[in-house]
Amino acid sequence: MTEGRRGGLRGWSAARGAVSSGLRFTSLRLRLVVVFGLVALTAAVSASGIAYWLNREAVLTRAQDAALDDFEREMQAHASTLPLHPTAAQLEVAARQMTEDGRLFSVLLVAEDADGTQVRGSSDTSALHGFTLEDVPEPLRKAVDKEQPITSGNKHAYHLYWQRVVDEDRPYLVGGAKVIGGGPTGYMLKSLEPEAKDLNSLAWSLGIATGLALVGAALLAQAAAGTVLKPVHRLGIAAHRLGEGKLDTRLRVSGTDELAELSRTFNRAAESLEKQVADMSARDEASRRFVADMSHELRTPLTAITAVTEVLEEELDAETGSLDPMIEPAVRLVVSETRRLNDLVENLMEVTRFDAGTARLVLDDVDIADQITACIDARAWLDAVELDAERGIMARLDPRRLDVILANLIGNALKHGGSPVRVSVREEGEDLLIEVRDNGPGIAEDVLPHVFDRFYKASASRPRSEGSGLGLSIALENAHIHGGGIIAANSPKGGAVFALRLPRDASPLIAEDPGHSGDAAGEGSGREGNGG
C-alpha cells in the first residue's frame, strides 16, 4: 500500500519533470531564435534603411538637378526672349517650345500683359490634368516672386526655387524661377513617379532581403540551438537515469567545447557517485552479512543449549527434589534467558532475511478468524483478547507471517495497554483490515513516528526485559512483503490502535517470482508456551 503510493508519486514527479524539461528546452530554443531574429532584423533594417535613404537621395537629387538645369536653360532660351508684356498665346507657345525636346516636365509661364492683368501659358493644357497655377504651392510662388537684395554673396535678384509635392499620391517636383529684368515667371512640374517606382522596387527588394535574413537567422538559430540543446537534452536524460539509480550511465564525449567539458564533468561525477554507492553498499552488505553470519553462528551453540536446558527444566518440573534449592533459581534463569536468546537470534535472522531480500511468502488459503483465534490460543491470550471477527473471511496469505504480525501487535498491546485488547477484522474491497486496539495510555506523539524502528525504546528507563525491540519492525516488514502495511495511531477514545492492512490475495506478488522457494515455517518465537 505504502509502496504503491510512493511508487505512484515517483512516477508522477518523473512525468512532471519530463514535461517541465521539455518546456525549458523549448523556451531556450525560442530565446535563441528570438535573439538571432532580433540581431538579423536590426542588421538588415539598418543596412537596408541606410541603403534606401542614400539611394533615394541620390536618385531624387540627380533627377531633380537634371530637370531643374533643363528648366533653367529653357527659361533662358525661350522665356527671356519673350516681350515684356506677352499675350497668353505667346506664353503658351513659349511654354510648348520649352518642353518640345522631349522634356519630361510641364511648364507654366506667368506674366503680366500690357493691361496689368496676369496671363498664363501652359505647355500642358489638357482639361483634367493641366498644369495650372493652382498646382504650385503658395509658399513656392511667394519665394519665387520675392526679390532678393543684391549683395556680394548674391548676384541675382531672383532665385530658382523648388519643392516636392504629392498630389493624388503621386510625387512631383515643382520648380519656379523669374526672368530677371521683369520677364515672365516660369514654373515647372515634373512627375517623380518613375524614380518613386524605382525606389519602391528597391524598398521591396530590401524588405524581401530583410525577410530572407530573418528566415536565415531563424534557421541558424535552430541549428545553433540544436547543437547546444541536443547535448543538453542528452545530459538531461542521463541525469534522469542517474537519478533513477542507473549509476553506470555515462555520456559519449565528442569535441572539446564547453558542452564536451560538461559531459566529461558529468561522467566524472557519475563515476565517483557509482564508486561511492558501491563502497557504501559493500560496507552495508558486509555489516549485513556479518549480522546474518553472526546470528547463524550463534544458532549452533544455541541449539545444543536449548536441547539441554529443556532437560534441566523437566528435571525441575519433575519435582523430584533432587536439585539443590540454590541451584533451582539458577536453572530457571538459564532456561528463561536461553529462550529469550533464542527469540532474539530468531528475530535477528528474520530481520537479515528482510534486509537481504531473501524473505519469501508461503501462501495458503486460510480463514482469518480461525487464524487469529489459533494465534491467541497458542499464546494463552484467549482471556485477554476480545475478538470481533466473523468466520468465513478467507484470505490467501502466509499464515506463519500473519501469526508473527498478530503475535507482535497483540503482544505489544498487552504489554503497554494491558487487557482487554480488542481485535477486529473488516473487509475493505480487496483488502483485509485488522485493528488491534488497547486501553492503555496510547503512544506519545514524539514516539509515534518511531514505533516501527528497530530497537527503538520509548524511554531509556524501560527495563530491558520488554522484548527484543524488533517485534514491531518485523511485523511491519511482514505486512510489506504481503503488499500491505501497518499504521499506528492513537484512538480518540484513548489507547493505541494498530491498523494492519493486507490484500486478501497475495498471490500476485508471488507470480512475478516463479522460482520462489518460500520461507520455512516452523517454531515461531513465543510458541514455547504451547506445550502440554
Binding site: A292, T303, A304, I305, E310, D365, D370, E523, G531
Partner: protein, 236 residues
C-alpha cells in the same frame, strides 16, 4: 502433544541421529534419550548410511549441513531403497533447504535451534503414521488401499510408500470426493498446529502422485482443488 514416558508395552523407538556438530549431537541425544528413545548417532552422512544398514532404526533425524555428502544426498540415497521416515534438521535462513529437503523425500522438518520436546512430538507423529487404524480396504481405479495390511497395490503390485505418503493417502481415501485443505491435511497427517508448512503437503502429494498416478503430471486420482487443497476422486 507432549508425552512423558512411554507405555510399558510400547516398543521403544530407535532413532538414528546424523549431526556433525558435537555439542548439538550430544545435547539432542541426551534430550531424545530422556524422552524415551533409543538413539544411535553418526557424525557424517557416510557414517550414518553405514549405521543405517547395520541397525535398521525406526526413524532418522538428519542434519542438512553435513561435511562430505550433505543431508539431501543422504536422504536421496536412503529413499532409493528405504521408505523409513526421515526428519530434517534445517537452518531456517536457508529457505531453499526446506524445498530441496522435501523434494529429496523427507517426511518432515524441524528448524534449529530445535527444542527437544518439539522434535519428540514430531518423531512420535511420524511414527504414528504407520499405525493401523481400520480393517477395511478401498479401491480407486487400479489402486487398492488395504487398511488392514497397511499396503497399497496398483495393478496388483505393491507400492513402496513412506508412512507419511501412506497416511496422506489414507486420510484422503477416507473422504473420497471431498476436498481437504492443506491445513486440514497438516493436522490429520503431520499433526501440526495452525502454522504447519503447506509445502509439506504439496511435496508429499507430488511424491504420492509419482507412485500412484498413471501420468503424474495429469493426475486422475489425487486432484488439486484450486483455492482449497486436494481431493481423492471416487473411482469412476
Amino acid at each position: 502433544m507432549r508425552r512423558h514416558g512411554m507405555g510399558q508395552n510400547e516398543p521403544v523407538p530407535s532413532l538414528l541421529l546424523i549431526e556433525d556438530d558435537d555439542a548439538i549431537r550430544t545435547a539432542l541425544e541426551l534430550s531424545l534419550t530422556r524422552q524415551g528413545h533409543r538413539v544411535a548417532t553418526a557424525a557424517s552422512g557416510e557414517d550414518g548410511l553405514k549405521l543405517l544398514r547395520e541397525q535398521r532404526p525406526d526413524l532418522i533425524v538428519l542434519d542438512v549441513m553435513l561435511p562430505g555428502i550433505d543431508g539431501f544426498e543422504v536422504c536421496r540415497r536412503i529413499r532409493r531403497t528405504d521408505q523409513l521416515p526421515i526428519i530434517l534438521l534445517t537452518a531456517r535462513s536457508d529457505d531453499i533447504d526446506v524445498v530441496v529437503g522435501l523434494e529429496s523425500g523427507a517426511d518432515d522438518y524441524v528448524v534449529k535451534p530445535v527444542q527437544g520436546r518439539v522434535l519428540d512430538a514430531r518423531i512420535r507423529a511420524v511414527l504414528r503414521r504407520g499405525e493401523r487404524e481400520a480393517n477395511d480396504s478401498a479401491t480407486f481405479g487400479n489402486v487398492v488401499i488395504d487398511r488392514a495390511a497397511m499396503t497399497v497395490t496398483k495393478n496388483g503390485e505393491d507400492l513402496q510408500l513412506t508412512p507419511t505418503e501412506l497416511r496422506l493417502l489414507l486420510e484422503l481415501s477416507r473422504r473420497p470426493g471431498q476436498a481437504l485443505s492443506r491445513q486440514q491435511l497438516l493436522r490429520l497427517v503431520w499433526e501440526h498446529d495452525y502454522l504447519g508448512d503447506s509445502r509439506l503437503v504439496d511435496a508429499c502429494v507430488q511424491r504420492l502422485r509419482a507412485k500412484v498416478e498413471d501420468v503424474p503430471s495429469s493426475p486422475t486420482l489425487i486432484r488439486t482443488v484450486r483455492g482449497v487443497g486436494y481431493r481423492l476422486d471416487a473411482p469412476q
